[in-house]
């Protein structure tokens, strides 16, 4: 009985380790349909935002949305298998924003990552 418990706990811990290794992924990998979106929490620490797909040719968007005007910044839209942008930066103030990704078409397999 104890062996089962130990093995189960070890497996759960190893799963948690695997999860933390891919913690930069904030949406997916999953099937996306047209119009579906995903966002991170607001933070001043984000640097890059990327949307990767299995194969290319799928129209998608990545951007950052600030927490004051809720305007979009550094938006990129293309059909590459990897779509990336960088977070807005100002030497005069801290910008708090969230990473946001959007599938403009469906259906494809992909994930959004924040760095």
């Amino acid at each position: 009985m104890k062996r089962f418990a130990v093995v189960a706990v070890l497996l759960l811990v190893s799963l948690m380790v695997v999860s933390s290794a891919v913690a930069a992924i904030y949406a997916g990998p999953r099937q996306w349909y047209a119009g579906q979106t995903a966002s991170t929490a607001f933070s001043p620490t984000w640097i890059r935002n990327a949307f990767s797909t299995y194969g290319s040719g799928f129209d998608k968007t990545v951007t950052f949305i600030d927490n004051v005007s809720y305007s979009w910044h550094n938006t990129v839209r293309n059909t590459s298998s990897w779509t990336e942008t960088y977070a807005p930066y100002s030497p005069f103030r801290v910008i708090t924003d969230k990473g946001h990704c959007k599938a403009n078409v469906g259906y494809f397999w992909g994930s959004c990552s924040i760095y």
Binding site: M1, F4, A5, V7, A8, L11, L12, S14, L15, V18, V22, A24, I25, P29, R48, A50, S52, T53, Y54, S56, G57, D59, S71, W72, H73, N74, T75, V76, R77, N78, T79, S80, S81, W82, T83, E84, T85, Y86, P88, Y89, N104, W109, S111, S113, Y115
Partner: protein, 200 residues
Amino acid sequence: MKLITRRWAVLGATAILAASITAGGVIAAQLTTFENPDRLAKAIEKDPLVLAADIPAAGGAARHSVLVQETSTGHICLWDVPSATPGLKQGGCNSADDPLAGRPLSVSFSYDGGPAMASVRDARLIGLTAANVASVEVVMNDGTRRPMRLEQARVGGAEYFAFGYRFKAGDLRRGIGPAAVVAFDDSGVEIDRQATGFTG
């Protein structure tokens, strides 16, 4: 009673074990069949960049460069970067086996502001075309066209053309934005058309 409790405990532990193995299998399957984002992200940070085209400064917006990057992960990336800070990349990557995703033209659209077109402050288009493309035009949503200036680019041992273009701020303020990008061959035949999806 003690025997029943023990059986339930064993059953529960077995269920947890089975669920863990199944979940692990699912994660492992995704990681082996799907591009590892961290690996490509790291390659994008460190692999060399080559200048392919320029986007001149205009209306207070800084000069940008169009850069091509062949990564150690087997990708070809096309970036729109501020010329003064090339680490700030906007664009994308495709497999080096198929950098244009099976088409004569691959484009990437970048803008600041929005999502409504009236609030967009700076919008740029970059692209890479096959060698058989003779010209590229952007069709605006008012029907007018903007010709792209193509620059020769050697990528992965093959010849391509690259371009970069900044849309006029006045056009954007009036709600005139890019509707489609069209490629022509040397006899003027349209060989590719891609909608930007940019409706404001």
